[in-house]
Subunit: 267 residues, 2 copies
Amino acid sequence: MDKVERNKLYEEAKSWVVEAGELIRASLDKKLQIDTKSDANDLVTEMDRESEKFFVDKIKLNHPSHKIISEEGFGDDLSTLEGTVWILDPIDGTMNFVHQKRNFAISLAIYQDGVGEIGLIYSVMEDVLYHVKRGEGAFRNKTQLSPLKDHVAIEESILLVNSSLCCENKRLNHTKIQELVKTVRGTRSYGSGALEFAGVADGTLDAYISMRLSPWDFAAGAILIEEVGGVITQIDGSPLDFFGENTSFSGNPFLKDEIINNYIELK
Amino acid sequence: MDKVERNKLYEEAKSWVVEAGELIRASLDKKLQIDTKSDANDLVTEMDRESEKFFVDKIKLNHPSHKIISEEGFGDDLSTLEGTVWILDPIDGTMNFVHQKRNFAISLAIYQDGVGEIGLIYSVMEDVLYHVKRGEGAFRNKTQLSPLKDHVAIEESILLVNSSLCCENKRLNHTKIQELVKTVRGTRSYGSGALEFAGVADGTLDAYISMRLSPWDFAAGAILIEEVGGVITQIDGSPLDFFGENTSFSGNPFLKDEIINNYIELK
């Protein structure tokens, strides 16, 4: 993707994200109509779908050859990242959106033949936009993000982990996660994967482990994190899968092997 | 405390909180000098002490008969809440302050003969002030907080709990906490007790359980929470202790007995 074309797409994508954010803020005064999808934890609101429809219509109209991977079903059914692919989560952190009316984000990425070129994570209610064009720096609003620290000791790190991972589960040995929680300086959990990836990218959090992520959860975050020298993989170190459910480790590269080798034991 | 006197104190306290917030924001460009107190998790910065000194000087100058309970040692050594007592945490969420340069708060309360009259929690970097005068409503900036919901089912609640409480520890049965985590809809952990109490008060979070809190951590939050019909106690339901270390349960009263009776088992 040449730089002129990429800049044009970036400006377009950014303007749509900001416009969708305005629509979402306006909608919050209206009563939310809440459905449940697969279970009670997976809340879907009318606004999720409206926001996704807004983006899909814009993309299809302006770029009929581009493809879309998105959460609510208005996108394409892809099995390859060939060509230009937009990857969208119209509201990341839906539970926060419903319960808190804040702490949620729009996550939008553009990949060209499998390479992340543009990433946007917009924290709608605080009006903070994380944005990146690969190789041209990552930003939080107008402030460029620094490269991640040269070194961070695990005992001095802050880890993003939901407390559910410390509970017995089918996916991984929870007692090892408990050891990790006791080893790090502190843990946090915010309930929006996109904003959690953004926190790793801006260096306010050192690592993030998570289960059950879809490509729209991490597509923009991955570009941000890699731009500042961070890593993002599955929780066993293997590459992310854009066509299935993922586990994930992301963070400072100095923590990756230590955490994956010593504290992650998949069942 | 009569209303005229209370209004005067409220305006004064509010102006000092906002002024201290400005000083803290300005200081964040300076390199932080970090000590450690009792352990590496208990970071104390120069700014904690400067901010506390700022308040203590103002209070002592303007109200020589008032007493002060505060974190960093410039306050009084009290054994009673008789008279007018200011209870101050100059920077609540010090680890966030140091690592993130955001997500911390100033917490300031004024108690008259043991009754919480004025509470202020100022989220410094987002410039959000939670404020309450007992019986006159609680506010988030200019927006009055609604009374907490009439009813909330535990399965539909969001619980504030740090993942460390799901790990084996000396204080309480962690397997019961794991059951609780699996029962609620979701969990969060933000790393600032004051902001977590504020989240309970504004209804974005339904309950909060915590260990090892001091009076400056909860003094303002307690007034906010009680103003909107919430409850705050020790984790076994007994009253808070303003002269020692505390556990705490706070939240919607409909959740209190259910959580304390079914999921809290102190060792």
